[in-house]
Symmetry: C2
Subunit: 359 residues, 2 copies
């Protein structure tokens, strides 16, 4: 992994565009939400109740609930990139929805694999319907993700581009699985290097953001070089995004993240601050860390000590610095893509939105 | 569900073609096996060891084993149909492989959902690697199934046909999930009608055979009516095939089926003989059946009594009669499709192979 040197982007010039960005964001969210509801539909089979529940539209009893729709980061990113290469947003909405469905398939299965009881402050699908049905609900979400892509057919997208979209989607699926495999294998490994970790998040998180940007671009332009530039931009953004998530998983505030503070410590996840601390520590600290990450049970007092060590190692500063490098690398890639300045400004705002999470 | 009246097919005329059929079968199996090995590849990541293990190519330690490749029913059926509409077999091999991968994805997840320890006399993937990794291995198999379809691109298949193939594959995925949902939901339901049951197997089993025949056909012809005829032929064949499986699940011989006799009774599956018996029984018999299928634990002596009741209700004869009806319906559909007699004969042999399981 090489981290390139970075030019600082001038943030002051962006403040005026924030409103335009917000307006675009809301518009895109609404389009995608509406598309998602059309795809999932009102099928009365109980299987679809699980999907609608997971997407926040129903409660566990099947009653509609007023949902503030999710952030829909991947679809919005896809549509912004599509628009910036001159594509008509309406044409790419099915692909944007497809990305959200794929992301949600992985979340349903993740929750089973991590034995997580709650997500977004609600019980997880498996917690309500049991693991066998939840595995199947995830599979169904996976299938709808592909069916969503076929709705491109109703627009004016060529078969060639649809096949290209299927390729991007299928490749990222396999990347997600490879990343997930590595993430789970790391739990039982005592020697995860930072390189291993970066490779894992590249597949598990960054690949889907890279696919979101590339998919949006490839539906709007035939220029493969531009599509690749968008792919790389999305990948760096995804790396930064995951590292930021790792930092929040230890030091985040519950009200903002929806996850309890220290949740990643409780779950013994080998996130960047932990991998770094394991690598950088020596003597008793290292022994304590290794012991904690190899034992089954967790005592409250153990956790406090672990966080103390992680803090002492400077893991937070290290992680945030790496996050910042990827973030700036994403921005500098964006500067090299030949698009209109108004579109670039929207994308820069999107990057800032993702990194600050303060909008 | 209507079962049409059936003309008997003259079996005597087929004996001479049996050899040709066997030769074709072996040829197709070899092509598909080779394609599958190319798709899965030699990736050293442990994830792929799970896939190679499941497909019978490796042992749990990752050592290659001499495998007699599976029956590859769905791919062979696909290639036979493709050939019969005038397609060149080599062109459809990636699609045939894709069907096998999709089938195997569903098996990996099925085994977790059913809590099955063994398949084809080997430990199941989850039994060796645990449920979280096995869920992910199933997902990866799912993704490779789509990637396999993209290999049609390397042949001379048009983008239009590839998009059509993706549609067929994605639709059958969702059908599989719907069928699986129903199957699991039936376990907790005391009132499964024969209609419910038939609808469930239509989605869970018959849809994939219908897709196999239709996919083979649609890659070889533009004639949608012919594709539909193949779809319906495959669907009826799939219905017969599943009912036959249900009969074997109670009365089958372990050496032939690879599953212990009575295995479906032990697992309390609501298969056709059971659904029929529950519907047809009265008084004490019904009470005993209902009690057995609602209780958690199973005593050896309970099982004997349950089989006694199922036998007494004539459930075997009922099931075999329905199986026969679907089987003959499939054959009579085959008679109406406009294909060469030599191709028809191969397909009739395939139907007989599937139904007799005595080759």
């Amino acid at each position: 992994m090489t981290i390139y040197s970075i030019n600082h982007y001038h943030k002051d010039s962006l403040i005026d565009d924030k409103k335009t960005f917000r307006e675009n964001y809301t518009l895109f969210q609404n389009s995608v939400e509406s598309e998602l509801r059309t795809i999932i539909g009102n099928n009365p089979l109980g299987l679809y109740d699980m999907l609608r529940y997971h997407l926040g539209w129903q409660d566990a009893a099947g009653k509609s609930v007023k949902s503030s729709h999710g952030k829909l980061i991947r679809p919005v990113l896809c549509l912004l990139c599509h628009q910036s290469v001159g594509g008509r947003v309406v044409e790419a909405v099915p692909a944007a929805a497809s990305l959200e469905l794929l992301h949600n398939f992985s979340l349903i299965h993740d929750d089973i694999q991590d034995n997580s009881d709650s997500r977004r402050q609600r019980a997880t699908v498996w917690k309500i319907w049991g693991q066998p049905q939840a595995i199947n609900a995830g599979d169904a979400m996976f299938a709808t993700s592909y069916l969503a892509l076929l709705r491109l057919h109703d627009n004016t997208i060529s078969d060639k581009k649809i096949v290209r979209s299927f390729k991007l989607l299928s490749e990222v699926c396999l990347n997600l699985c490879e990343g997930q495999y590595m993430d789970m294998a790391f739990e039982d490994s005592s020697s995860v290097s930072i390189e291993n970790y970066l490779n894992m998040i590249m597949k598990k998180t960054a690949a889907l953001l890279a696919t979101s940007t590339a998919l949006g671009a490839c539906l709007g332009t035939e220029n493969e070089e531009v599509v690749n530039q968008f792919f790389e931009f999305g990948r760096d953004l995804g790396m930064a995004f995951q590292i930021a998530d790792d930092v929040l998983g230890i030091w985040g505030i519950e009200e903002k993240t929806g996850k309890p503070t220290l949740s990643d410590i409780v779950q013994k996840k080998k996130t960047l601050p932990v991998v770094y601390s394991l690598t950088a520590s020596t003597g008793k600290d290292r022994q304590r860390l290794e012991q904690f990450y190899s034992q089954e049970h967790t005592e409250e007092q153990d956790m406090v000590k672990i966080v103390e060590i992680i803090n002492r190692m400077g893991a937070r500063a290290y992680s945030q610095q790496l996050e910042q490098q990827y973030y700036e690398q994403a921005l500098s890639r964006l500067e090299t893509i030949s698009i209109k300045e108004t579109d670039r400004s929207l994308l820069v705002n999107m990057v800032r939105f993702l990194m600050k999470r303060d909008y």
